[in-house]
Symmetry: C2
Subunit: 305 residues, 2 copies
């Protein structure tokens, strides 16, 4: 089954203490769509300018990522530039140019409207809602968000929450949103705001998943070298949503959500091994399954013999 | 089977942003011994002054903690005072008075020398070695350490490492000791310095366990309210060592070490729920087993139906 992915498509300039690269493909939808595509077909919604490389459309085609929903309009593609400090956990935005993204109104092609799974990658919550308005009762809606929307468009975000089955956000955002220092309390409180499930990302420390009476604590796959953390959260969301769409035929159970969170973590662990989407471009399904297995065995409490 | 526990016994004054308490029982051996005693008998080695409450000796007796190895000498008990900031992860030492601890030379009663399991809780590595010198071939030696010894008595620590089967230290200490930012690289490097196994504690983010070709990543039991983090690391070591001594008859396998790390984490999660040893004093074995089960089920990758 397909998953609809909407979010930003950007050209990034990323600087770490070790390297700097310009004009890299980036944006929440770019990462999320590619991550999801390892599990099944993707329907991509976004906007790019005339400076956007045509090769990317060919790449999407080769990966069963339907780009009918990507508008190509006069003007420049959204651009973001950021710099990471030594610990790679904190970053500073150096510049943002919205460009064609400024007047983006996602318009769903007719063929997209009946998609069962929607992944609303990180963009303004009003745009996320606008996409849902055009869909015919998706079975499961995953929404990602960030501090910017919590701080500047809280009413829009609050309106979206009851329409999301699963909300994804990171630990500091969960604390900011609820004014709770305990992530356990924060996760519960966010559930009361509408989403049936909440996933709190803790960066290199894994993720927590909250259901009504269920809870899952997932570590992170431990890495020796991290080159570029950009897009790790978007890739997590994409892997998670892609796994669900491809594998869950009936109701989305908590057991399936656990597995989805683990696949999201595995995809994110590959993402940060290289700049931009480079590692994901060369990644194979076999490598994903292998790392899932290693991750499972290093996290199991009881080993079978 | 018994476990020998050596370390500091102290009277602590602890201040958090919310509360302050004086003259609390503390010290690495106090926490480690009580944690270990939930699994089996303990042989305690330490030193106290004449101001040390006699009731504590009675309490130890009631818990099968043999205190023959605790010297009671003229002078005052070791005192420590510390203050935690809001996040409870960073603390500042306000004062330290070594008192009777200054000239401590651990002397093992004859009946202690053949103990199979030794837990060298956090004290100067020269004292840890001095205890091993008096033992007859313990089967498994767990040693805990801290930044102070890495910085001030590195040669003593290096001499101890090949005599330890498992070294325990926290994440920043592992990085400091190896000059590696990656904990995976740090864990491997420390193993090359002598100990067969290394456990790196990550505070509220769990622990990593390294063996020759084996690796275990353990989350932390998520807590809603933390009252006093003092002694959490010592309690982790005590739970781990106590579990091993009581449960491992033959060789200590990696599967048993995994379980020991989990029990250590469970004990530490109780420890921080109240000041000093208060929560551990009222704790029952049933509560430990229940939390182990909840922890296991919230951390499992695959759920059995």
């Amino acid at each position: 089954m397909s998953v609809l992915v909407v979010g930003s498509i950007a050209l990034d300039t990323v600087k770490t203490p070790v390297e700097e690269h310009a004009d890299l493909l980036g944006g929440s939808a770019s990462y999320a769509a590619l991550a999801a595509s390892f599990f099944g077909p993707v329907r991509l919604v976004g906007i790019v300018g005339t400076d956007f490389p045509a090769t990317e459309f060919e790449f999407w085609k080769s990966r069963k990522i339907d780009a009918q929903g990507v508008q190509r309009v006069d003007g420049k593609t959204f651009r973001w530039s950021g710099e990471y400090s030594w610990d790679l956990n904190t970053r500073e935005t150096r510049s943002v140019a919205l460009n064609v993204f400024e007047n983006f109104q996602p318009a769903l092609p007719e063929s997209y409207r009946r998609t069962d799974f929607a992944l609303l990658a990180n963009i303004a919550p009003s745009l996320q809602s606008h996409v849902l308005d055009q869909m015919e009762k998706p079975r499961f809606v995953v929404a990602d968000t960030m501090d910017l929307w919590i701080e500047t468009t809280r009413a829009d975000l609050d309106a979206l929450l009851p329409r999301a089955d699963l909300l994804i956000l990171n630990d500091s955002e969960a604390r900011e949103m609820t004014k709770e220092t305990s992530l356990i309390k924060a996760g519960r409180k966010i559930r009361e705001m509408g989403p049936r499930y909440v996933a709190i990302k803790k960066g290199e420390h894994g993720a927590l998943l909250f259901g009504e009476d269920e809870f899952f604590s997932c570590g992170a796959y431990p890495l020796e070298d991290i080159h570029d953390p950009t897009g790790a959260g978007d890739t997590f969301a994409g892997g998670l949503g892609g796994y669900l769409a491809a594998n869950v035929k009936g109701e989305v159970t908590f057991a399936e959500l656990r597995r989805a969170v683990i696949y999201g973590s595995v995809l994110a662990s590959f993402c940060v091994e290289a700049f931009s989407l480079e590692r994901l471009r060369s990644l194979t399904k076999d490598e994903i399954l292998q790392r899932y297995e290693v991750f499972r065995s290093m996290s199991q409490f009881e080993m079978s013999a």
